[in-house]
Subunit: 132 residues, 2 copies
DNA sequence: GGAACCTTGACACGACCGTGCTAACGTCCC
DNA sequence: GGGACGTTAGCACGGTCGTGTCAAGGTTCC
């Protein structure tokens, strides 16, 4: 609307609904995203969220990020944790670096089978049927 | 039991139940963990899971990892994804590096408030009460 | 050949994720 | 002062996570 355009020109900040309109997120999700600590807009004196150009950009790229790869807000929230908690990052990376159960005595075709299964990031299609 | 000890000495591999007993996980969880691609033991000709020393060690350290920090299997599964999918890692790290909505015009105490909120990894205690 | 184990598959369940909607109440602005 | 909008809190709902349990069927081994 004209009002929003006017305010944008003057105060350089949008309200939730306006930000929602220009980013494709719903107001509900904008609050949720804030809650997850991913995009936290400043507030007006009376508590209104004020989305500036920076936040809008961030929201759009966030959407692209989620759409591109199959990830959720929780996941990138976790990634964020990994950078702010070096303690955590060290342990997790350390564990993952331990070359998971070195596959030396694996029959080679079995290896291949579970290797593919592993690439289906988590549970998905079951079909393995254990050769019985 | 004696049986398991005997087999361990000879074939160097434990069955699910035995592995469960020595690692503290339940058999159910061992299968779940395998499904998540975190610890995948080789199989016997007839399909039995064979947990060797490497897997057992891995299972114990995994437990420590989860207990130490507040993380779940899904999370470290995601961390694993980050290392095997550089495409993903690049995008996520890139997004996080964008110093989230530079807090220049934030009233400094507000900043502090949402900064702490962010550290409650995701939703938790609500109390903020927006200064109204 | 039978007991004790293994396998997969499924139901169940509480907790959280992602989302929408409604309620109750404050703010903005004409 | 009233309407359009903001704020939070809450219910709801399908989906996933982390678990347990139980069923149906193969294996091991005495």
């Amino acid at each position: 609307m004209l009002t929003s355009l006017a305010r944008m020109a003057t105060t350089e900040a949008l309200t939730v609904q306006e930000a929602a309109d220009t980013t494709g997120w719903s107001p509900r999700m904008l609050r949720y995203i804030e809650r997850a600590g991913l995009v936290v807009p400043p507030r007006s004196a009376s508590g209104y969220r004020l989305y500036g150009a920076a936040e809008l950009q961030r929201l759009r790229t966030l959407r692209e990020l989620l759409d591109a790869h199959d990830v959720g807000l929780a996941e990138i929230g976790f990634a964020s944790r990994m950078r702010t908690e070096p303690h955590l990052a060290r342990d997790v990376d350390g564990w993952l670096s331990a070359t998971a159960t070195r596959p030396a005595e694996v029959p080679a075709d079995d290896w291949l089978r579970w290797e593919q299964a592993k690439h289906t990031r988590l549970l998905q299609h079951p079909e393995p049927t254990p050769t019985n």
